[in-house]
């Protein structure tokens, strides 16, 4: 079974943070997470404009509920859970997924010059693979493998049991793992269940 989050010494700055009203923490911390919130919105919706709307709605909601934020916990996780719930309950239903999603020419060409060209191609390939995963798997892969949330934290953000996180990740990795032709992977033999 997944272990509980590691015990770590509480840093002095966190102790200071705990003494402040939660609404102050939210107000002050929000700005530092806008880009990451936008990226999460992009991963969920596949559209840049919708991602922007999601960030805006998340900011409004977070400030409205700032008193519910627990000082000493991760603000970014809390914001992710707000954004996810807005997406799930309010936006997704009327959002028709269209367009190229989060992989487009801009993405694959946005690296700094030739130095990163190979890395850029690989990155674009990874983005495309993730984009093609079913939505629930895509969001879970993003939170755990990109944002670095523990299974427990991802379960809290998505409001699902840890076992659901585990099975979504397993399904995603099974899909990706059986893809042929990936860098260095087997190209002729089928890799999979017997």
């Amino acid at each position: 079974m997944p272990r509980k989050s590691k015990l770590a010494p509480v840093r002095p700055e966190r102790i200071n943070a705990m003494q402040r009203p939660p609404s102050d923490l939210v107000k002050a911390g929000l700005r530092g997470h806008l880009a990451r919130l936008w990226r999460y919105g992009l991963v969920l919706s596949g559209r840049r404009d919708v991602a922007e709307d999601l960030v805006q709605a998340t900011c409004v909601r977070a400030l409205e509920r700032a008193d519910q934020f627990q000082p000493g916990t991760h603000l970014d996780r809390w914001l992710f859970s707000i954004l996810h719930s807005i997406w799930l309950n309010e936006v997704r239903a009327r959002q028709i997924r269209q367009g190229a999603g989060f992989v487009d020419a801009e993405t694959s060409l946005s690296f700094d010059g030739a130095r990163q060209i190979e890395a850029g191609i690989l990155a674009a390939q990874v983005l495309r693979e993730v984009q093609n995963l079913p939505e629930a798997q895509r969001g879970t892969v993003f939170l755990v493998y990109v944002e670095g949330l523990s299974y427990r934290e991802a379960a809290d953000v998505l409001a699902v049991p840890v076992g659901t996180i585990m099975s979504r990740l397993a399904a995603a990795r099974d899909t990706l793992g059986r893809r042929t032709g990936y860098r260095g992977g087997r190209s002729t033999t089928e890799v999979g269940r017997r």
């Binding site: 079974m1 272990r3 590691k6 770590a8 966190r14 200071n16 943070a17 402040r20 009203p21 609404s23 102050d24 923490l25 107000k27 911390g29 929000l30 700005r31 806008l34 880009a35 936008w38 990226r39 991963v43 409004v60 400030l63 970014d76 989060f102 801009e106 993405t107 946005s110 690296f111 690989l122 990155a123 674009a124 990874v126 983005l127 693979e129 993730v130 993003f142 493998y145 990109v146 670095g148 585990m166 099975s167 990740l169 397993a170 399904a171 995603a172 990795r173 099974d174 899909t175 990706l176 793992g177 059986r178 893809r179 260095g184 992977g185 087997r186 890799v191 999979g192 269940r193 017997r194």
Partner: protein, 283 residues
């Protein structure tokens, strides 16, 4: 958890949790042992390992594409519209306090980001060496690829509990047919951080990862099924130095970014410990 075939066979979900380091040390050791003795399970692990990608790096460029200026000004508008909570924050103090709090929060979040460094063993290379190439060379190439994914950070965050490590060592040792006691594999100035078991083309392959405070990760790898003794040789792979040799039916390999001299000195120690009567169960 769905139970397949045998009651104790781990599910894919558990295997992924194992690969992601999300299991307790006891569960991790148990599943590691099951993988080591069950080729079908090892095959599942291989597929799931193949499903790992450099996710974090791939998504990094999206951050710089965020419309940060617009988002910033939107937030400023929202904050300006916020009703002032009575008695909580006096207006003349707010700017100062926000700045002060922001500094604290930034520190907190920077620290928070470091709490978890995702370790996703992308060990596909260990299992997918081209079959036509020289077998003896292939396993070293595979190990070099695998070790090149390790950083000092990867090893530093592993829990340092000697009982878990001894269990890992015992498990790896029993598969290799070697008695891997801590006294035998602890090396001067290197901290043993992890023992992992792999199956390489049907041969048991033990991977011991050490942290050298000066040069970073160093690995001692032992593979079963090397019939002929061979004296130590030096090679270079992926920017790392390698010293390898065979003795007592096992292939040995030391690899790291440390100097060849350092590796050779360690090799002498290791060869001495596993020479002659050192090899116990015959592989």
């Amino acid at each position: 958890m769905t139970q397949e075939k045998r009651t104790s066979a781990p599910s894919d979900a558990e295997l992924v949790a194992y690969l992601d380091g999300e299991l307790s040390p006891a569960d991790s050791v148990r599943i590691g042992q099951q993988i080591a003795v069950d080729p079908e399970l090892a095959e599942r692990v291989e597929v799931l390992m193949n499903g790992a990608r450099a996710f974090r790096e791939a998504f990094e460029p999206l951050l710089s594409q965020a419309p940060t200026e617009r988002l910033d000004s939107t937030l400023s508008d929202i904050l300006a519209r916020q009703p002032q909570a009575p008695g909580r924050l006096r207006p003349e103090l707010s700017a100062y306090r926000l700045a002060a709090v922001a500094a604290g929060v930034v520190l907190m979040l920077m620290g928070a980001g470091l709490d978890r460094f995702v370790v996703t063993p992308i060990g596909r290379s260990l299992f997918s060496a081209p079959s036509h190439a020289n077998e003896s060379e292939d396993w070293r190439r595979a190990v070099a690829q695998y070790l090149s994914l390790y950083t000092s950070d990867t090893l530093s965050i592993l829990p340092d509990t000697s009982t878990a490590k001894q269990q890992e060592l015992a498990s790896v040792g029993s598969r290799l047919g070697l008695d891997l006691t801590p006294a035998r594999v602890e090396l001067p100035d290197l901290a043993l951080r992890r023992a992992e078991m792999f199956d390489y083309e049907g041969n048991a392959l033990g991977f011991l990862a050490y942290l050298d405070p000066r040069s970073g990760p160093v690995s001692l790898c032992i593979i079963a099924g090397h019939a002929e003794d061979a004296p130590p040789k030096v090679e270079h792979r992926r920017g790392m130095n390698v010293v390898y040799w065979s003795q007592a039916n096992h292939g040995f390999m030391l690899i790291g970014r440390t100097s060849v001299d350092h590796l050779q000195a360690i090799a002498t120690i290791v060869a001495d410990r596993f020479g002659g009567s050192g090899v116990d169960k015959g592989g």
